[in-house]
Symmetry: C2
Subunit: 449 residues, 2 copies
């Protein structure tokens, strides 16, 4: 591989230090962090700016070599790691941050900036970035845009798409678009920004983002609520949202709580066991007062955090789920949305699968993270769950994208007409199928789009 | 025309009463309400549901006859009226409204429902639709989506794109997509909804919408603020927005105020004249208290509405601009965004044009409605203004779209790469150029996309 003429050609553009072919150096790029996805890369290239990204893409396009773009490599659907000898293009060096524009409430960030870096920078100006998620220290805003990441605060601020005012990107032929002005009103043609957000690197490579910022409410009130059932929790959602300052509403269940307590050693949050738990957080200029809890007919019990240690403890019951489940085994992980009226029924049905289900997620969006332990046939159980979601009119991927992992099931959630329209758009912008082939749609032989 | 075989064929689908060929009946469809745009239509067809829209499009596609979709015919860029013998497809009969889903805070509306009808329906459930604009009684939500309408409350709620959770649409081949589930988290492929919003009928015909609703804050405080200059008003925006409940911030100038007073007979709002005026409205669960005005260094004077008659009077100073200007002559009307730091300079430069400028608009977005009276050469003055906007990195169409009116200047605001990408998407979804030809891009001979 060291004599690969493509490596030499790319080294002229990005410098030899940024073209990696030694497997010891490429390993962290070619396998995802769960070690479920990955494959050989022809090489890893680390351009330093948009111009270098464009040059790399042009060179690869001229050779007919497909390119897999990668941000923080925190994806969960196999969409950001190589499959079969592609060039892996890492965006991590594009991590610059521009000044915070306090009047426009915007900030320009390189695609390789981590979410944590963006949050810190925004907070120096008394603002915040609306999207937050657990992988914040590694996840890059470019990767988050490519997958339209959501997270815990979608309820209040929406997904990445709602928080990206503009972007720059390199297209499949190496040409670049620059929409970083972030104009809040701009009706001059198609929304290429919105089209690229969530396209998982199949239409273009995002190199920088104009991010919307939000005021950072200084006062927070966190509470853990206990309900008799998940249906009761869903039925209480309107009331919980009657305070505009609701920032998150995360549900989990007795089975998950038991696993978390076992893993963390935390005491039981309530003296009695309950059917469903919801972690809520309100954030506002003045300390939010949860008078509304007194009127919640279906509420069985509640604990409101008295201080930040308390808040941390309550949040851990929810946040330690992923770790506790992984400690107990290798789960089948699915990330789905079902219409809210169907959420409780869906969760109950998971109990009859040939596996042990642990479910938790984002209540207001009907977004359940389905973790299944001990499944003898992971493919079969995946198929069963996703078919159930499709029948309910839900989404087989709420947050993580289709990647390569869910390609076989795209037709459960998008109609033949929609898939045909998406394919037509893909062919229009990437006629030779060079950008992230095998993601979203099955890979086709090069040259056939 | 009564013997047009296409009319007969369409009448079989929609009923003879809904295929109009008599010029006395088609006139209100074939000319826009400003009478600046319009042309002959082969016929006007009024389908009654999505299935009929699909049939009409299929029949027209088979004959190679282009179709111009139309909502409330309130557009200002000539994008919704025929040019040269197209079929005019009116969506007005698709005006059904589904139940308000209070938990999801969503509502399904037919494309032909007016904004007023949607607002009334949402308010029966204690919610509201976030987008509002003056043409609310005629503008349809389908047309508003097709043009990504903005209006006064973009500051708080965003444009149509941010308020459309999903849609159904008929594509150029008569196939239909149905994304009305409104799932708040759904990362399974390209955002076809967002792509269709703002595409001005060139990629598909929107037939129904899943609209996001917002809580309707019961208490409002309206104030008219006087500043020494527009630059002072821009510099005060951060402070005005420090209360989250700011819903609108509309600016106007002494010249426009004089015209409005002449037209309406209203008294002067302040004892002294000032350099710039900003109408603000705050809306919240409790009556907003504008303590912040006391700390506004640059504020020269202010009047806070004491009752609803007062509020109406203050709002009229801004809202009567369009009518007052039209009463004074036939203006060249342009609708542009410039980056906020450039807004005051841009407005000043308009005074040196060979015409009398009246400018007003949406302060927070740098969105100026430029009205020019007495221009001897409307084309030349338009070109001068739009070139100035392009140089500043602004948008030549903030709210109204490109339509047919701004096609010659698209390249002032979008790069060759972006235009090539947009054309590729257009060709991909409408290879024969049947949907709204001549809008966004120059029309091409049929069959060449």
């Amino acid at each position: 591989m060291q004599n690969d003429p493509l490596a030499a050609r790319l080294a002229e553009v990005v410098g030899a230090a940024h073209v990696l072919t030694d497997p010891a150096l490429t390993a962290s790029y070619t396998t995802d962090f769960t070690r479920r996805f990955g494959g050989p890369a022809r090489l890893v290239v680390r351009p330093g700016d948009t111009g270098q990204v464009a040059s790399v893409v042009r060179i690869c396009a001229a050779e007919g070599v497909p390119v897999v773009p990668q941000g923080g490599n925190t994806g969960l659907a196999g969409g950001g790691v190589p499959r079969s000898g592609e060039v892996l293009l890492s965006l991590r060096r594009l991590d610059g941050l521009g000044p915070v524009d306090g009047t426009a409430r915007q900030l320009t960030a390189g695609a390789g900036a981590t979410l944590t870096a963006v949050q810190r920078h925004a907070r120096t100006a008394g603002l915040d970035f609306g999207v937050d998620l657990a992988a914040r220290d590694s996840a890059t805003v470019g990767g988050m845009a490519a997958t339209n990441a959501g997270g815990e605060r979608v309820l209040r601020y929406g997904t990445m798409r709602a928080n990206v005012a503009g972007l720059s990107a390199v297209l499949a032929d190496g040409s670049a678009i620059d929409r970083l002005s972030g104009l809040p009103k701009d009706n001059a043609g198609y929304d290429l920004t919105g089209l690229l957000v969530g396209s998982e690197g199949t239409l273009g490579i995002v190199t920088a983002l104009r991010l919307r910022l939000v005021p950072r409410p200084p006062e927070r009130t966190t509470a853990l609520l206990a309900f008799g059932s998940l249906a009761d929790a869903v039925a209480s959602l309107d009331a919980l949202r009657s305070l505009d300052s609701l920032e998150l509403a995360e549900f989990f269940l007795p089975t998950g709580l038991a696993l978390v307590r076992e893993h963390t050693g935390l005491p039981a949050p309530f003296t009695e066991p309950h059917g469903a738990y919801v972690l809520v957080e309100y954030a506002a200029p003045a300390p939010p007062v949860l008078d509304l809890l007194a009127d919640l007919e279906r509420l069985r019990d509640a604990v409101v955090a008295a201080d930040s240690a308390d808040r941390h403890r309550l949040a851990t019951y929810r946040e330690a789920h992923t770790e506790a489940i992984s400690a107990a085994g290798v789960p089948v992980k699915l990330d789905v949305t079902v219409p809210l009226p169907d959420l409780a029924g869906f969760v109950t049905e998971m109990e009859s699968l040939p596996a042990t289900p642990y479910l938790f997620g984002h209540l207001a969006e009907g977004n359940a993270h389905v973790n299944l332990l001990g499944a003898a046939d992971p493919e079969a159980v995946t198929e069963t769950v996703l078919r159930r979601v499709g029948r309910a009119g839900g989404s087989i991927s709420a947050e993580h994208g289709i990647g390569t992992a869910k390609v076989p099931w795209l037709d459960l959630t998008r109609s033949p007409t929609e898939i045909a329209a998406m394919r037509a758009v893909k062919r229009a912008l990437d006629p030779y199928g060079l950008l992230n082939p095998g993601v979203l749609f099955p890979a086709r032989p090069s040259g056939q789009g």
